[in-house]
């Protein structure tokens, strides 16, 4: 019997404004069969520092966050829409 622990980004969602939401799944496998799984969710907004961000998520951010997307996000922030 062998136990292994793996962490994978199993879900990446890009919103229309360019925000990137991702989910990390931590799986415990016993002889290759999953016996436990937990999730951790995080989010990133256009232009955010990507230090420590998983490489595949950073790659998505790099593709999505064009100068136009970042500028649009910053413009929306400046409008400070209130609920």
């Amino acid at each position: 019997m062998s136990l292994t622990k793996t962490k994978v980004i199993d879900q990446i969602t890009v919103t229309e404004s360019g925000a990137v939401l991702y989910r990390e799944a931590t799986r415990i496998l016993e002889d290759g069969v999953e016996i436990s799984k937990t999730y951790h969710r995080s989010s990133l907004v256009p232009g955010q520092d990507l230090s420590g961000v998983p490489s595949n998520v950073a790659a998505v951010c790099g593709a999505v966050w064009t100068a136009e997307v970042v500028a649009a996000y910053q413009a929306a922030v400046q409008q400070q829409q209130q609920p």
Partner: protein, 336 residues
């Protein structure tokens, strides 16, 4: 109906010298029935008790009596019954089938056993197929129930397959531990409960529960100031479209004037999706002088919780929250 003989006639004693009169001396020798009857005693029944059903039945009955119940009946060539049955076709909703019937105690009730010789997990041990056939004799397997081997020789899962188009595939599993696994759920699920797919398959039906997920998350600044919270942590539970989330973090020392906003784990439905309570709000030097409420919303396409002053609809600034510790519980309606 074929006439049955209820008892075999017996012959009278015939010796080597007994002569039975021959009435036809031609090439074919014949004797009369009357003459032959002289040497036969007993009777041939003119009518006999028929077996249960008609003459296209096969029936086993170890008492030798026809009719009534039997331990094995092949009725009309269509319905097979084992156990103490009369007409097995009357036990189902059609004439074609198999019926097993037993007594009232556990070891004598009707049962069907399917088995295999499996040494590897997930191998099928037995399977029941359901198929459709049309007039062109095409066979369409549409559903199946099978047992598959678990991790050990004495463990197993029950798998249900259906076909929406094409070959049947697994849609539901009762795992060895008792977990009910829906299509796309973790097939190795342990414990007792319902395992939903890891990625939601949304239903448009108002009475269908189509998602459950629980996990942890990291609340982060989405105000545009790119602040770094300290001690940021949280957990969430999503049941259908209802999300309950807890967040805990501390604002850094700052003087940023943007509205204080932090991220949520699951997208929010529309602009305003819920509410919450701010359980703890403290900067280490005294109680806050403003009551804040968390306001979940999909802001600028981002699942966001804005911190709003109770006294009005205005959000407070990051500078206002400088060094404050927040512990917030939020409930909201999700996008899917």
């Amino acid at each position: 109906m074929t006439t049955k003989i209820s008892s075999l006639p017996t012959l009278a004693t015939v010796t080597a010298t007994t002569v039975i009169p021959v009435v036809d001396s031609g090439a074919t020798k014949r004797v009369t029935a009357a003459a032959l009857a002289t040497y036969i005693t007993g009777t041939v029944a003119s009518s006999v008790t028929a077996p249960a059903g008609s003459n296209n039945h096969v029936q086993y009955n170890n008492s030798g009596a026809f009719g009534a119940t039997s331990n094995f009946t092949w009725e009309n060539g269509t319905t097979l019954g084992v156990g103490g049955l009369g007409s097995p076709s009357t036990y189902g909703d059609g004439a074609y089938g198999f019926v097993a019937y037993g007594g009232s105690t556990a070891n004598t009730r009707g049962h069907i056993s399917l088995g295999g010789n499996n040494t590897t997990a997930d191998e099928a041990m037995g399977k029941i197929h359901f198929f459709n056939s049309n007039s062109t004799n095409a066979i369409y397997r549409v559903c199946a129930i099978q047992a598959i081997r678990g991790a050990d020789n004495n463990s197993g899962h029950l798998v249900f397959q259906t076909a929406n188009s094409g070959a049947p595939s697994e849609v539901f599993r009762l795992s060895a531990t008792g977990a009910a696994v829906l299509r796309g759920g973790t097939v190795g699920a342990t414990g007792v409960g319902i395992a939903f797919p890891s990625t939601q398959v949304s239903s448009s039906n108002a009475n269908t529960l189509d998602d459950y997920e629980e996990g942890t998350w990291t609340p982060s600044d989405v105000s545009g100031a790119f602040l770094t919270y300290t001690g940021s942590s949280g957990f969430y539970i999503k049941t259908g479209r209802v999300v309950h989330a807890y967040a805990e973090f501390r604002f850094p020392s700052n003087s940023d004037g943007n509205s204080a906003r932090f991220s949520l784990p699951i997208p929010v439905y529309s602009s305003y999706g819920g509410g919450g309570s701010l359980n703890y709000f403290y900067n280490g030097s005294g109680p806050p002088n403003t009551v804040l409420v968390p306001s979940p919303q999909q802001w600028n396409g981002i699942p966001t919780c804005t911190l709003v002053a109770w006294s009005g609809s205005s959000g407070v600034s990051n500078a206002f929250c400088s060094l404050y510790i927040f512990r917030i519980f939020i409930s909201y309606y999700s996008e899917t």
